[in-house]
Symmetry: C2
Subunit: 552 residues, 2 copies
């Protein structure tokens, strides 16, 4: 392929949900789009968060002109506190997104020195050879943007996270006419959100939730407790509107919901009629049919408000028989069973629980198949790269593009680290860079590697047996009987005889071999093999066996 070329490299979010990050490189200029985090998957034991590996970017640090953020969700901004101090470049975003980034950086003490720039809707920024225009899209947070990126090889459209909602509750509909205009002028490449590429039809408008809320507020004689994402400002707006209509007052509960609501009110993204919002000390004596609580989050982490309420562990909200709980959200993948247990517990306490499987109390924020096809039809890109999704979502999105007439060879289903090179006539995957997961566990970033995780998985399955072997420093002979400490393997009282037998087995093995200090690695392996075999025969379990020699 002839020079000069544009390189596009996804650093996260392709082949997985979350951790969205991408870079574009042209000659001496690099821009970064989104810097998100991912919540750990089930097998990432003990890990708190997952962020992208940016070692490749750090080698080219002097070329990086800036970071562009599409919207304020964790999977697009959450890694900034960890990575921005290393990258140290300006961050461009719309007003609410900028506010959320500030909050996030402040929480992690990474705000000082950060260069945060607000871009108005429809505004443009120039970063080296790249000119970037922010166009409004609908998503489950206000002020979400797609990007039109003017590059020396052609124009690129990046959808951001989007859906088409012609009657959004807050914010503007996705700017389809701007996209149609651009489509007519010729777009080199479309990058488009694949999260819901498996879902047929159209994603319903946020409006439908308003109707459900109105029914609930009118019909239930008890209190209404709504849980949702704190960033889903339009949902909070709907609760306020519906409460106002039915003479109920709204209690905003929980720090995250209070902080976000306050900011959204100040920045003008949320409107509350006078006297609707109530302080928790006004609760006492208020009739039940006048009360609405709004709280975060419904994701079911053990610290979350809903789980605390269900466990009767919440400072301010306790379930009373006759309450109606509305879970206006879908669980993060992997959290389903915790949420289900929470719902069960609320039912047991006499609450009526409305969740997305039984009532229309949530619509998601991503376009379904018909919306994705509409975008492809309007933009009419020369090339297409599905982004944001696991591999099946990207594959299904590619098939949608074929169904609207694109050629298979013009569609690039990529994975993190793949390099797509483009010139005005051609596009090609030309290689792969190092990319992947960096684990955040406690205060450390990146020190947890595959060995630690493999060990945690072994420990989780069948526990551990530590064998302590004291030997004489001079003679190398066994001193006393080997000791055994086990945890998570068997009930140590019930299995005392079996464990004792294994101590004797080790003693016999060492006496016979007449082990000497020099031969420790041999002894170690031998003890391990013998115990692995013995324990498996006795229990059909495979604990981690760890011989340890003490020289005395």
């Amino acid at each position: 392929m002839a020079n000069p070329r544009l390189k596009i490299i996804p650093l996260g979010g392709l082949g997985e949900i979350g951790k969205n990050m991408m870079m574009m490189e042209y000659e001496n200029d690099i821009i970064i789009i989104d810097v998100g985090l991912m919540f750990p998957e089930e097998e990432m034991l003990g890990i708190d968060l997952v962020i992208p590996d940016i070692s490749y970017l750090l080698e080219k640090q002097e070329k990086i002109r800036g970071i562009v953020i599409t919207h304020g969700h964790e999977d697009h901004i959450g890694a900034l506190p960890y990575l921005l101090p290393q990258l140290n470049v300006p961050v461009y975003s719309t007003k609410l997104t900028n506010g959320l980034i500030s909050v996030k950086l402040k929480e992690r003490r990474a705000l000082s020195g950060a260069k945060l720039k607000v871009v108005p809707p429809g505004g443009q920024v120039t970063l080296g050879k790249f000119k970037i225009e922010f166009f409004p899209v609908c998503h489950s947070i206000p002020d979400a943007a797609g990007l039109i990126i003017y590059t020396p090889v052609g124009t690129i459209v990046h959808s951001g996270d989007f859906k088409l909602d012609y009657t959004p509750v807050s914010g503007k509909p996705t700017d389809l006419s701007r996209l149609a205009q651009l489509g007519a002028q010729g777009i080199l490449l479309l990058l488009s959100d694949s999260t819901y590429a498996a879902l047929p039809g159209y994603t319903p408008s946020e409006r439908v939730i308003g109707e459900t809320l109105n029914h609930i507020m009118a019909d239930t004689p008890g209190r209404v407790i709504v849980t949702t994402f704190s960033s889903l400002v339009s949902r909070v707006q709907q609760v306020i509107d519906s409460a106002a209509k039915h003479q109920r007052r709204v209690f905003i509960v929980g720090r995250s919901m209070s902080d976000t609501t306050r900011m959204a009110l100040e920045l003008g993204y949320l409107n509350a009629p006078d006297g609707i919002l109530a302080r928790i000390d006004e609760l006492k004596g208020m009739p039940r049919n006048k009360i609405v609580f709004v709280t975060t989050d419904s994701q079911g982490e053990p610290t979350s408000a809903l789980v605390r309420i269900a466990n009767r562990d919440h400072r301010q909200v306790h379930i009373i028989r006759g309450d109606t709980v509305v879970i206006s959200a879908t669980p993060i993948p992997g959290n389903e069973s915790l949420i289900n247990r929470t719902i069960d517990s609320l039912f047991k306490q006499g609450a009526q629980v409305l969740y997305s499987q039984v009532a229309q109390v949530h619509v998601h924020g991503h376009g379904s198949q018909e919306e994705l096809k509409l975008l492809l039809n309007l933009v009419k890109p020369r090339f297409f790269m599905p982004i944001h999704g696991e591999y099946r979502h990207l594959s299904l999105h590619a098939k949608l593009a074929q169904s609207v007439g694109m050629l298979k060879d013009d569609i690039f289903v990529m994975e993190d680290g793949d390099i797509l090179e483009l010139n005005p006539q051609a596009a090609k995957i030309t290689g792969k860079i190092t990319s992947g997961n960096v684990y955040v566990d406690g205060m450390s970033v990146g020190d947890i590697g595959s060995v630690v995780l493999r060990n945690r998985r072994m420990l989780a399955r069948d526990g551990i047996v530590v064998v302590i072997i004291a030997v004489n420093r001079q003679t190398g002979k066994l001193v006393g009987r080997p000791d055994i400490v086990s945890r998570g393997f068997v009930d140590t009282r019930e299995s005392k005889d079996m464990l004792d037998e294994s101590r004797d087995l080790v003693a016999r093995t060492l006496d016979h071999s007449g082990s000497r200090p020099a031969e420790w690695s041999f002894t170690n392996t031998k003890v391990r093999d013998i115990l692995n075999k013995f324990y498996y025969e006795q229990t059909k379990r495979r604990p981690m066996v760890l011989p340890f020699m003490v020289k005395v």
Copy 2:
């Protein structure tokens, strides 16, 4: 409540999915309905299976007249190999169910001595004061039965797992007219399947899958690989029928699928036209559009065929670009992410994957809301107890019963162990017995308790640090420097300095305290506290800290 009374006690399956088991007691007679197992939930680390606690039953062993099994799924028969040898009573079931029980008992070497009795569809057995009639119901396995239980206090209908399918592929439709007849005569109590009580509408007929399969077999130029439950004999029948129509031959792959298919053919539950079924050695040279594989299971356990195929780890089936994989099943709750990764991997290898979210390739085996209401309307029970489901399913089912006119006080939403007592006029929850989970891990049943599990959870989160402290047997003084062994906590090379520092910290602590053997429990606590604090400060992690003293 006046004597004599009937007691009904669920021992499993209420408040959880799986592990279905129930007992009914009248004077000197006890019958047991179903003896199922449950697959472990996420937090039951390292556990293989979960079975019901039958300690209450074992106290009344001489009263037990027999076990009645509704159908051959694991969650209804799976605990028999573990519990039947203890209970040692006859087991009554229909023909296919009986065959599956034999296979299960044989696998676990529990067949000898088992008294298995076949009951024909519509047949009756008398067990003490109970007379039990098996009536055919539709479910995702042939020969499924509901039960009509004639007792001295009145007639009870137990739905089994059921749906209404007026055009089933194999077996008979649910016998609605028998139920209507009984309803007219008066039913004291209905026990009905709540698994899909959250789903509005009707469950589609199995027939719709046949149409999808016909399209796939006709349209794809490549091989078709269908994965489903081996017990879903009707689905295998549909694959065979569709293959025959499109001149494809069917390869049954995998031991479980081969065994079940062979048995179903022999017992007449499956029909294959001559020459349709092929042996794997006939595969070579066969055109791709003539090939269908059927394999189990699609539940995504690492040993399962689908995962092995996706990982290129299967002896007989390797994905070729252009293959179509049909996942004709829904994942067991908790297995979703493994299944999703498997689908991703199949897409990466160039297969087209059809799964229930993107195509009508599976219908489930339980009735939805309208079917549940229809059953309530036909049976018209005096009392109602929703069974089979987590608490929210039971609660929603109770609300359905209220919506068709039952009174709240006549509906009993119970949990495992609750005792429902009935006489011809009244029903009441009168107490609770000990019930719960018994864990099977490796070859042991029941020795894993909450301590072992709590330890595994701790180990899984932040690993373990064992501190080995050698002291002089006579003086009680420290010998040498304390040793530290850690696994799953930190990268031991990168964190060598920190771990060394913690050794010194222990040494200093022990020198100061001048520990003596008698004070070990005090020293132990002290070392643990100091290290917990030190490690948390250094890493924000909380490994399990385990001091161990070696006397030399």
